[in-house]
């Protein structure tokens, strides 16, 4: 018997055989096949082809939906509000 330091962790031959068989089953299920690798490659290339956030921001800034003008009547105007309420108060 050899005096190699890993003697203590060596397995009996029948156990080695059983373990190899079960690991082979696991490896067949968990190993990435060529189809898996191609699919992941496709996902990566699709993600890096997305438009940059700055490009999207530039498109959004030019959109007509964004208005920098405020309705002048949106600010609080007491006279304007009173003009709306005057007819109501006349009926009270």
């Amino acid at each position: 018997m050899s005096n190699q330091p890993d003697d203590a962790v060596r397995l009996p031959p029948e156990v080695e055989s059983q373990l190899n068989e079960r690991l082979a089953v696991w490896a067949r299920a968990r190993r990435l096949g060529s189809a898996d690798l191609e699919a992941i490659r496709g996902l990566v290339l699709a993600r890096v082809a997305d438009p940059l956030p700055s490009e999207f921001a530039a498109q959004l800034a030019s959109s007509e939906l964004v208005s920098s003008e405020l309705d002048p009547r949106s600010a609080f105007d007491a006279e304007w509000l009173w003009s709306l309420l005057r007819p109501v108060t006349a009926l009270m």
Binding site: D6, V15, L19, V25, A27, A29, L32, I40, V48
Partner: protein, 192 residues
Amino acid sequence: MAPAREPMDDRSDRLAVFDAMYAAHAAGLHDYLLGRTSDAEVARDLLQEVCIRLWRGVAELRDLTPERRRAWLFTVARNLVVDFYRSRASAATAHDALSQRVLRTREQVAPAAEADVIGRNELEVLDAAIARLPEALRTVLVLQVLGDRTSAEIGELLGRPAGTVRYQLAQARRRLAEELRLMSGEEQEVSP
């Protein structure tokens, strides 16, 4: 006088370098990530992230030696694994989540052909047993089992001496055999 290297702004140039590195290292990176995380879905997600960083850095990587390129990729992978663990409460939480997922999957198995059920359960048993190995042992075992890599090749990937890898592989196999109850002569029951 040699011409200056052209800047890589042509997508086809980038793609050629990317594809060459992807072909050379994607499978090994996946096996490494699976060994570190013991989660097949997480390993694929992290592989995508490594490859996105590869794409972004391909202009700088093209001038490196193959060894430096490999080292760069596995450093990125290692850092992503660290980030992955940080996003979890603890490694024990990740292990518990995997165990819970294995148990939930077992409960949700619909009636199917007996052979299919046994096949799925065997995979779950092996997943769980391998996940319970210490991370260092699990990583060398997965790299060896999935890629038929030698101890020297695994040592190069992980920055360890080949002798250390051989010992870790022997330890991993022994502990896995104990997990699967092969040592006592009683195989672990595979319950449906």
